[in-house]
Amino acid sequence: MKHVHDDEPALAPALMATLRDEAPRGALRDRTVRALHRESVFDARQRRRARAERRRRYALGAIAAAALFGSGFGAGTWAVRRNTTGAAVAPTAATDGPASLPAAAKIQDAARSYVDALALATADDAEGARARAVAMTSFPVVIEQMVRVVPGDLPNSAAVAGAPTSTSTSRRSAAGSIIWY
């Protein structure tokens, strides 16, 4: 009899001591054992069989769950890959197909050279002159490639019309015809 962890006063121990403990009749044990025999509790072979069956069911369940997860994961991966490829191909298909991919790369390279050259073009020394020459050369390349990729684009056409030729020699005219984006 325990009275612990309690903030309420318990009944007096003397009162609790008046509780009478009855015991179950001896027949209850035999009755219970007979009932358990009927349940095959003491049949070790059947118990093992039942346990093996249960384990087999768990294993099958685990395999089914793993297969379901694997197939779901595979399907998801496939769907993502398919969408990513589609997203990469879509802009190409919208212009002039896969052939435009190198043109886009050329635009990027030429534009990078153009911007790098612009950064150095203001200097008055020989390096500045070289940078201006590079800028003058690379700009038409950028425009040409842009026109190839998107022929009907009006700003591109205007840029082509206003683009300087690489043969211009005057420093002032070259600097004046630089187009800043």
Binding site: H5, D21, E22, L28, A35, F42
Partner: protein, 197 residues
């Protein structure tokens, strides 16, 4: 009755000269039942735990015959599910939970189970009766009070255990116990010394 497996034969209580008898743990006995279908291991378990199960059932149900049925049903359910017992609590606690549930089901079947939550619960307890002992006073309590009192004060379960066993919160267990004690004091004619929780 099949013989015990060799590894358990030494674990069961045996009179050994000049030493204390070695007592098999509940776990070893359960293992003997699971692995070897040992009836003697079950009988050992039965003798160890049935007195407490019977006391609980007897006090919750109020009748010896009902209590015996509940104890038998408890052992049958326990042995059916013993494979899945995880040993996170003592076997006695687990068996206690089963017998409480069996008793509760029986009381519910007879529409005798109720948890008194109201403030006027004391009115449900009879006034002082002469020559009433604690055992009979417990039998007069509403089942919710009785369960809380028997499990906590008589059998020593914690409020957490009781809450788990009966599907209550610990607060309900505490309030049921508090009211049970107050009702018992009233019934037995002791002055009410309790305060509200």
């Amino acid at each position: 009755m099949p013989p015990l497996p060799l590894h358990l034969a030494t674990a069961l209580p045996l009179p050994i000269a000049n030493s204390e008898p070695v007592v098999a743990t509940d776990r070893a006995l359960v293992r003997a039942i699971l692995d070897g279908g040992s009836e003697s291991a079950f009988v050992e378990l039965y003798q160890r735990h049935t007195p407490q199960l019977f006391r609980i059932a007897r006090r919750l149900l109020g009748s010896t015959a009902d209590a015996e049925d509940a104890v038998q049903e408890t052992w049958i359910r326990a042995m059916r599910r013993i494979d899945s017992f995880q040993w996170r609590s003592a076997l006695s606690t687990w068996l206690g939970a089963i017998v409480v549930n069996v008793a509760r089901e029986q009381l519910q079947r007879d529409a005798r189970w109720s948890v008194v939550e109201l403030r006027d619960d004391i009115a449900t307890a009879p006034a002082r009766a002469p020559d009433l002992d604690l055992e009979r006073a417990i039998a007069l309590l509403p089942p919710g009070f009785r369960a809380a009192f028997v499990l906590h004060d008589v059998e020593g379960f914690t409020h957490e255990d009781i809450a788990r066993q009966l599907g209550w919160t610990t607060g309900t267990s505490k309030s049921q116990l508090f009211r049970a004690r107050r009702a018992l004091r009233r019934v037995l004619g002791h002055p009410c010394q309790d305060r509200d929780p």
